[in-house]
């Protein structure tokens, strides 16, 4: 599903039809007293700046560094993640899925766009798109190839379709060459896609450590 091409035609010149329509809707709902526009501003600001994959990266980095936390995360992800300060909407029932040398997990919502907001923020467009929702459950290896990820043929691909209110977070394997790294350094290697299962963590390069 592409974005509204109509919007592109109008970009920079005048307000698009969608802008006009949504402004009219917002004024109506404010006039009726159904919504407080300041609440909208706060909501938008939270998801644009504060809630995002950097939260999940901190969870993963801690699990890589602290065996007791890793155990807790795999046993009760909701509590373990809440302990780091990321509870809430679209993450009330978290499940962590550990990748290892034999198993690779990949998460999808074939029916809509269910995604663990507190740890990953709002989903990217591709996650909500027809191509991903259609193919992840039948041909995850083909999808991974499009993301530039090729796994050995004997790695088992496990797909998780988020049909209820459980939300899944993939715990990728810790990259080699990161012995002695701090949690903050490790978190810089954890990508959003690695926590969905469509990517792998960034490789450790000496420069990434020196830069910190």
């Amino acid at each position: 599903m592409s974005h509204d091409d109509h919007d592109h035609e109008h970009a920079g010149s005048e307000m698009s039809d969608m802008d006009v329509r949504v402004r009219a809707l917002e004024s109506l709902l404010v006039e009726k007293g159904y919504v407080d526009p300041k609440a909208l501003d706060v909501l938008i600001e939270m998801y644009e700046t504060r809630i995002g994959p950097h939260n999940g990266a901190r969870v993963v980095a801690k699990a890589w560094s602290d065996p007791a936390f890793r155990h807790w995360l795999l046993d009760d992800a909701t509590a373990a993640i809440a302990s780091l300060g990321y509870p809430g909407r679209q993450g009330q029932h978290m499940v962590a899925l550990a990748n290892d040398a034999r198993v690779h997990n990949i998460v999808v919502c074939t029916l809509c766009s269910c995604y663990p907001w507190p740890v990953l923020g709002l989903p990217p467009v591709w996650y909500k798109s027809a191509p991903y929702r259609a193919r992840a459950v039948i041909d995850p290896r083909g999808v991974l190839a499009e993301f530039g990820v090729t796994l050995p043929a004997d790695v088992e691909l496990r797909v998780w379709d988020s049909t209820a209110e459980l939300r899944y977070l993939v715990l990728p394997q810790r990259p080699p060459g990161t012995d002695g790294w701090t949690e903050e350094q490790l978190a810089t290697l954890v990508t959003r896609d690695a926590m969905i299962g469509t990517g792998l963590p960034l490789p450790a390069r000496p420069s990434s450590q020196v830069a910190l």
Partner: protein, 218 residues
């Protein structure tokens, strides 16, 4: 409902297109639709499963041709019209002609952080013991309701194994029909990918979260 939103296993949509350094929102109207959707959801005029049902009730061709926030906008508007919260001419003009209907709640700016942190946990205590245990063989039912369901078409009537028992959760299918707090035991069911797709798959297993009503013992 056997709608086009139920996309698992469909073919020929083309490659997954990624955007490098994708912004959270692409247009100002997407920001406002996101905020309006969450704020209207917080009024209690409808529940989350009713919003999902409204979005997937868009005409199939329109659903496929719309961006995700356009789908959210259409769904929210349909829910408001259905409940008489707004009238069609008011939407067209962006001006109020009829008095507001009372709502259970209006979300204020200083409530946002606590409301989001709290969320609305769907899990409750279950009165009856779960029917299945981890490792039990089950088969999903052949269900084709015309109303909202969270059992995807690709895994109906299929054999699977209980991989996890999650206790009582609000049963989405009934919740979308407006039933208050319909609790059922929720399970994660693991399917061998070949049982779903024959030889035409690169997955080993597919796990799907299934309420009790979706399952029979096998």
């Amino acid at each position: 409902m056997n709608g086009v939103h139920d996309m698992g296993g469909m073919q020929d949509f083309g490659p997954v297109v990624r955007e490098i350094d994708e912004p959270t929102f692409h247009y100002e109207w997407e920001r406002r639709v996101f905020g309006l959707t969450i704020a209207m959801g917080a009024t209690g005029a409808w529940n989350l499963d009713q919003s999902r049902a409204a979005r997937e009730s868009l005409p199939p061709a329109q659903y496929l041709a719309s961006s995700y926030y356009q789908i959210w906008l259409e769904g929210m508007q349909a829910l408001m019209l259905e409940r008489g919260l707004v009238a069609a001419d008011e939407l067209a003009e962006g001006r109020m002609h009829e008095p507001a209907r009372p709502l259970p709640h209006v979300l204020t700016a200083d409530e946002v952080a606590t409301a989001l942190a709290r969320g609305a946990p769907p899990q409750r205590a279950l009165a009856v013991a779960p029917r299945f245990r981890v490792g039990d063989a089950v088969r999903t039912r052949q269900l084709h309701p015309v109303t909202h369901t969270r059992l995807p078409r690709y895994c109906r009537g299929k054999p699977g194994t209980i991989a996890a028992v999650h206790g009582a959760h609000i049963f989405a299918d009934a919740h979308a029909r407006g039933i208050d707090q319909p609790l059922e035991c929720l399970y994660t069911v693991r399917f061998d990918a070949h049982a779903l797709w024959g030889a035409d798959t690169t997955a080993a297993t597919v796990c799907v979260d299934c309420w009790d009503s979706y399952l029979d013992a096998a």
